[in-house]
Subunit: 240 residues, 4 copies
DNA sequence: GCGTAAGCGAGACGGTACGTCAGGTCTTTTG
DNA sequence: CAAAAGACCTGACGTACCGTCTCGCTTACGC
């Protein structure tokens, strides 16, 4: 676990009454509870303070606003995600997919995650906080999974580090995105069958993509297409 | 374009002064503009009304709340998505991926979409509205793409309708989810390279999955799929 | 009864559909009913229209505003006041006092009267309407009472018209004011005893005032007025 | 001046930031000013708050509604009424009459008083507030005037306390009612002449009423009238 | 008998104010 | 000095009425 999040990062100063550490825990728990019961838009600072048995001032002394408070409150949920060692890459991946799906079924996670991402489209500081508190935790799983699979010999070592990074990013977007989309937009559960099919799609897609060598298989980005028609129009009509 | 959305669905009754149709257009335009300038959390009904040159009550007479208003305002953006006929399935898919990515770069779309999805986790009526106004429009593209590819002979007809529906759902969650995640969470652009790699991953993954020979249910990625070539030599390395 | 009030005074134009006369009655009745149930400040035009089974426009076509509508609605109540002939001035006066008191016990009268008077402090047109529709009806009783008493010989003819007018005004203010104040401010009922004592106070006070011999202008109450008897022996102790 | 009114009576609790006392004064002053400029029906809470340089919430924290605020704002005006010692009862009474008349010429007093009384016909709490804040202040003058006149020997001590109370009430209703009626309904000024005539009427009327002894003077409620005609019908026709 | 001008119910319209609520800040007393 | 309590200002909320304005009728008069 990198950089522990903590309420405010820096505040210390060694004099005066020290901040109560129970208060922190109580506030975060109260925030999660309020999130479950009320949802994002109905959650209020005053309500959280009351549930935590704490004054509103104490909240503001530790978190600059509702958004960062919620990020921190929700972040701990993502600590629960574990990369198990089930012996094969597909099994490991499928496990993570199901864990992630289960996490997003929980109301406090599902509500908070999207709301906070929505806010972050306008607020860079918030985006950074989300990245360190949540996204990096998930990405770490992808990296760890790759390494373990390489050790097992399931996948070859990456030809160069840049390609590896690109692959990691793609896998991460595909897996996390698909789970989020299924859970929140399609509103369907991430059950065993779906998790297995997603895992399969991603792993075969990725392996085939990397393997093709001389096969007729897929794209050959180096060799320009003979007559693929106008490419630019494609970009152009994307806006029409 | 099926089922036109309309502000309130049902309200008519032939007596009394009819609702001004210009007001509708002005309000939706004002909503999009406010969304760009202020973002979701700063957008207020009063502000939208003022921009539209309309009374606040007129807004509330037509939309029960900010959420549904924003859904309707943003929904038209998704009408722009087109499935072009570029001659091959990968090219068509890649085009849609890029269109969708470009759409989500637009601030009014990105902000609104996530916020509204977040709210929908607590509000079934809102979820339904999102589904009919936005999601179904996108899903339609997947269905149409499948059909066209079948006509071209790029993919075989589905063995049974249930399997086809499951595949459609999976593809939809994977593609839409990945684009959304990359744009909003990873905050990276959907450029030509990424779009191509995503397309390739999904299409090869899917094809391989359907032809798994006698292989074990869970793919064995070590043994590369024997002949997954049939997508024809496609060599587009189009644009930037 | 002089000048019938009528909704709008002038509206004529002999062509077109004539205004429904039932509507007038229904509206005024609805206004009184709403006044009883809701009080002045909660009474709304829309509510009156609904009770009367009439469109809001119909109200506005006939009365310029709530104030004048209420004045007209309440004015008819004051038509009920009668000057009976009970044979003596005190008995007649006492009767009127009690009638007026009874009228002001009725919620629609009490609420409306004061509210409308309050509004009239800022609105001369409204003040005129009140005067013609309500006040003059009451003042007429005072004038009639004087004349009858003179015919009976109970009081001497006025030395000059100006003095008579001054007396009329004073009596009117004292009697009406006292009844209103007792009913609305003191919130005590106008019962038989109180009515008799008020009547007596006014009549003796007035008679003595007119006959002050050579006494100082400002009465010297220590020296009881020498002969203020001429009101005749009236011994009614009627009453509840 | 007993029982200070205060905004809300009870609220304290010794912890937390105390309510600003300047705010109270500023709000009441702003209310009176707004009343003068706008009149009762145009006075709004928001406007008062703005004039007082205070938030709307601060008003609502202290007064439950416009009505009670206005009562308190206007009440202080009635503190100005003084019972001077001019040496004789008539002179003292006349002075109070003129003071009261002058008070009711002031727009903030005249508008507010009637409006608030009108509202009170539906609201017992408001009626109580008016009584303690305004009416009792005036009544005190009547009581004090009686006592002083007795000390001077101008009027005899009351035969029994009940009679004294009844007299006080009657005088109060007559004097206050007459002044109010002349000012607000008749819309005539309370000038020296009118004040003198009212004073005289009340004092002589009252003295004579009490004095009559064996004189033929006024009512002899003990001795039933010889032929006073039907009393009951009087009560009956009061309702017709 | 027929056109036409006004009345009529309905209900949308641009407004204003409502009374409440939440956000953050600030000022007390208590620990 | 921090914490709790709670007053404070700000500003948006969603609602209720206002008085006006179309609508599509209906109704009586006067040609």
């Amino acid at each position: 676990m990198p950089t522990r999040t903590g309420p405010e990062g820096m505040h210390q100063g060694r004099t005066g009454r020290p901040r109560s550490p129970e208060a922190d825990a109580a506030i975060l728990a109260a925030t999660r509870q309020a999130l479950v019961e009320l949802g994002w838009s109905k959650l209020t600072m005053g309500d959280v303070a009351a549930r935590a048995g704490v004054a509103k001032t104490t909240l503001y002394r530790r978190w600059p606003s509702r958004n960062e408070l919620v990020v921190d409150a929700v972040a701990v949920l993502f600590d629960e995600l574990r990369l198990p060692d089930l012996g094969s890459l597909p099994a490991d991946v499928e496990s993570v997919v199901r864990q992630f799906g289960a996490l997003l079924e929980r109301p406090e996670a599902k509500t908070a995650l999207m709301a906070v991402i929505a806010e972050a489209t306008r607020d860079d500081a918030l985006r950074r906080r989300i990245r360190t508190a949540i996204v990096d935790r998930q990405k770490h799983l992808v990296v760890a999974g790759r390494e373990r699979a390489q050790e097992r010999g399931e996948i070859p070592p990456p030809p160069d580090p840049a390609a590896a990074a690109r692959d990691t990013d793609l896998i991460f977007d595909v897996v996390a995105g698909a789970v989020v989309h299924r859970t929140l937009v399609s509103a369907e559960p991430v059950d065993g069958d779906w998790a297995r099919r997603l895992t399969q799609l991603v792993l075969t897609g990725l392996t085939a993509q990397r393997a093709p060598a001389g096969a007729a298989a897929t794209a050959r980005p180096t060799a320009p297409a003979p007559a693929q028609g106008p490419q630019e129009p494609r970009a152009a009509d994307a806006g029409s």
